[in-house]
């Protein structure tokens, strides 16, 4: 019951006029970056980050997280109305959302998407409310070996369940760790991996990496695909919205299943994108109306949207209670936490009660604000999409450049961003996952510290990672996840071979 009390206290922090104002601004900016291709939640939040340094941490996190919710909703709008996913995680929404809208049921499609998205987010927040402080309490007993094991498990789950080619995921992760190591080593004080460039002593900021990987990379992809925004009518009929929302409980089972998939993928960092695809795939496989999937089936919108938002929300659970972000955007926010002087992880629940519960309470309110705002502003943002891309593309480029520069007033960062942009384009094109790269940049130092401290405790013996039941279980689970793709491949070959013979 402590949780309920803390939550109520959180509401007194979150529901104040300035904070509601920040939510409105955050959600609107979020929808904007969600709608614009080339700008997404991770780099949107990074852009806003330098502007929050003067704020109270709780106000700053409310602004940033509201932007995240807005971006998640905004991505769905363009998926449904234009068949252009504004966010990678809303790709699966185009499969049935756009066909339904094209058939003249745009309002139904949007309302279905927003309704199930809100449900998914709600399940995620409820989960955080009741589970986060408990997880944090368990984590208080963690020592360096346990921490390293949890990091290991998190990274292994990317390889095992992220859906991208496993070795490409491994390369992406390891590159992130190497980038995190650039600069001064906090333990020994020696300078590492600067390759002769003195300015790199300060390290590579994750904001610069995100701006390049997601911003420039996505921009290059969008230009290459050269889409033409052919919108269906974006007029909202409020009666239809109401009727759709009232009818949603009919899909109760699909909603619950998708929310469960989303929460699972959000907490074990698989991320919203993988969650939405997985949920769509499962919904299609088990649906009685399998044939109508891809032609505007409501369940085909409910499944990815619920999972997307459930994953996006619950990605904050491991960030708050363990210091391990569950998605790229959560990683950026965690970077923010560290810049504001907070230490993400279990101590947050003891030392920064107001911050944690203010944030959790704001998630309830922020999502309601987001649903209302996105419904009200659909026509405006749809009109924005009609601006030719050759105008918005250079503008987005300028914004990313200035954003990268503003991190530490460094021209080198701008050049790095360009480099990351090319890498981002190549990686996306060849399905190397980007989220593990960003995650590794943000928490690479912490993972390394945990490893080195554990090694100090054991005087250099790896046996410490099997020294008690908890740490051994975590490590074994991690290894199992790493081997999962291999096992699946062997099984796949076995089942295919007899057919070929």
């Amino acid at each position: 019951m402590d949780n309920i009390e803390s939550l109520l206290h959180g509401f007194t922090i979150a529901v104040t006029l300035p904070h509601i104002g920040l939510m409105l601004i955050g959600v609107l900016l979020g929808i904007l970056v969600g709608v614009l291709p080339g700008l997404g939640a991770p780099n949107g939040v990074s852009l806003l980050l330098p502007l929050t340094f003067g704020m109270q941490p709780v106000s700053a996190i409310i602004l940033l997280s509201s932007m995240y919710w807005g971006a998640l909703f905004g991505g769905s709008v363009t998926s449904i109305l234009f068949n252009i996913p504004g966010e990678p995680s809303s790709v699966a929404t185009t499969f049935d959302g756009y066909p339904m809208a094209r058939d003249g049921r745009a309002t139904t499609a949007l309302a279905t998407a927003f309704g199930s998205a809100a449900f998914g987010a709600l399940v995620g927040v409820v989960l955080i409310t009741f589970l986060a402080s408990w997880v944090a309490q368990v984590a208080l007993a963690f020592g360096p070996p346990e921490y390293f094991a949890v990091y290991f498990l998190a990274f292994a789950s990317f390889v095992g369940m992220g859906g991208a080619p496993p070795i490409k995921t491994v390369v992406s992760l390891a590159a992130g760790f190497a980038i995190a190591a650039i600069g001064i080593d906090t333990v020994s004080g020696s300078v590492r991996l600067t390759m002769g460039i003195d300015e790199l002593v300060k390290g590579v900021s994750f904001v610069v990496a995100v701006m390049g990987l997601f911003g420039i990379g996505e921009l290059l992809l969008a230009v290459e695909e050269e889409f033409h925004a052919k919108a269906v009518s974006s007029k909202i009929e409020w009666r239809e919205v109401f009727r759709t929302l009232v009818g949603l409980p009919r899909y109760g089972w699909a909603l619950l299943r998708s929310a469960a998939i989303g929460c699972w993928m959000g907490i074990t960092p698989g991320g919203p994108t993988a969650a939405s695809f997985m949920s769509y795939g499962i919904a299609k496989r088990f649906s009685a109306r399998k044939a109508s999937f891809g032609r505007g089936e409501a369940e085909g919108i409910i499944a990815p949207e619920t999972a997307d938002h459930a994953a996006g929300t619950s990605a904050l659970l491991p960030m708050l209670s363990l210091g391990i972000p569950g998605s790229a955007t959560a990683a950026v926010m965690m970077g923010g936490l560290m810049i504001w002087g907070l230490n993400p992880g279990p101590m947050l629940f003891i030392e920064q009660k107001d911050f944690v519960w203010g944030l959790i309470a704001s998630m309830y309110v922020g999502n309601i604000v987001a649903v209302v705002l996105v419904l009200l502003t659909v026509p405006i943002f749809a009109a924005l999409m009609r601006i030719p891309f050759f105008i918005t593309a250079p503008l987005i480029f300028i914004i990313c450049t200035v954003g990268a520069y503003a991190v530490s007033n460094s021209y080198l960062d701008v050049l790095l961003m360009l480099g990351f942009g090319i890498v981002g384009y190549l990686f996306k094109k060849l399905s190397y996952p980007l989220a593990p790269l960003v995650l590794a940049i943000v928490i690479g130092d912490k993972a390394e510290d945990a490893f080195r401290q554990a090694m100090l405790m054991s005087k250099g013996s790896l046996a410490i990672f099997f020294s008690n039941a908890l740490v051994a279980t975590l490590v074994v689970a991690g290894i199992a996840l790493l081997l999962l793709p291999l096992v699946l491949q062997v099984m796949h070959v076995r089942t295919i071979k007899p057919v070929l013979d």
Binding site: A174, V223, A393, A406
Partner: protein
């Protein structure tokens, strides 16, 4: 025209080179175990090894892949039309500053590349640096680079 094979090759070569550089650089920092604990270079060294091995694997896997064209000539043209002016814009920043560079960049792409109407292009090209100035320099007190030209004219 770029085939999937070529792109896989370039990317794996890129990550592999990075991995090799990380390995070489971290050996300088010392790898292994000393009295102070794990040496500074150990962890980066391991990541470098993983990157290198993974890149070799990706290279081997990427090579036999189809020679499908993944970037067609028209794709490539659009890519360069965005990327080359963008690089010129970035290169111009230290000389003429962000404000002038962004204005010229907008004007150049709109008028020269896309034959957008001149008055509207001028409007957008003027509004862009103005918005940057108001948001960054005025609202959030973040000073953007004024360039060598800015030093000369005292801005």
């Amino acid at each position: 025209m770029i085939s999937r094979r070529a792109l896989e090759f370039v990317t794996a070569a890129l990550t592999g080179t990075f991995g090799a550089a990380v390995i070489v650089s971290s050996i300088d920092n010392g790898i292994g175990w000393s009295t102070a604990g794990v040496d500074a270079g150990t962890f980066p060294f391991l990541t470098g090894v993983i990157i290198l091995i993974g890149s070799l694997w990706n290279l081997a896997r990427g090579w036999p892949q189809s020679r499908d064209v993944v970037v067609s000539p028209s794709d490539l043209r659009r890519l360069t039309a965005l990327f080359v002016p963008a690089v010129v814009f970035v290169a111009a920043i230290p000389l003429i500053g962000v404000y002038l560079a962004s204005g010229c960049y907008m004007l150049g792409t709109l008028v020269l590349l896309h034959r957008f109407s001149l008055p509207r292009s001028l409007l957008i090209a003027a509004a862009t640096p103005l918005a940057l100035y108001l948001v960054f320099e005025r609202m959030f007190q973040v000073s953007l680079p004024h360039g060598a030209l800015g030093d000369v004219i005292g801005f």
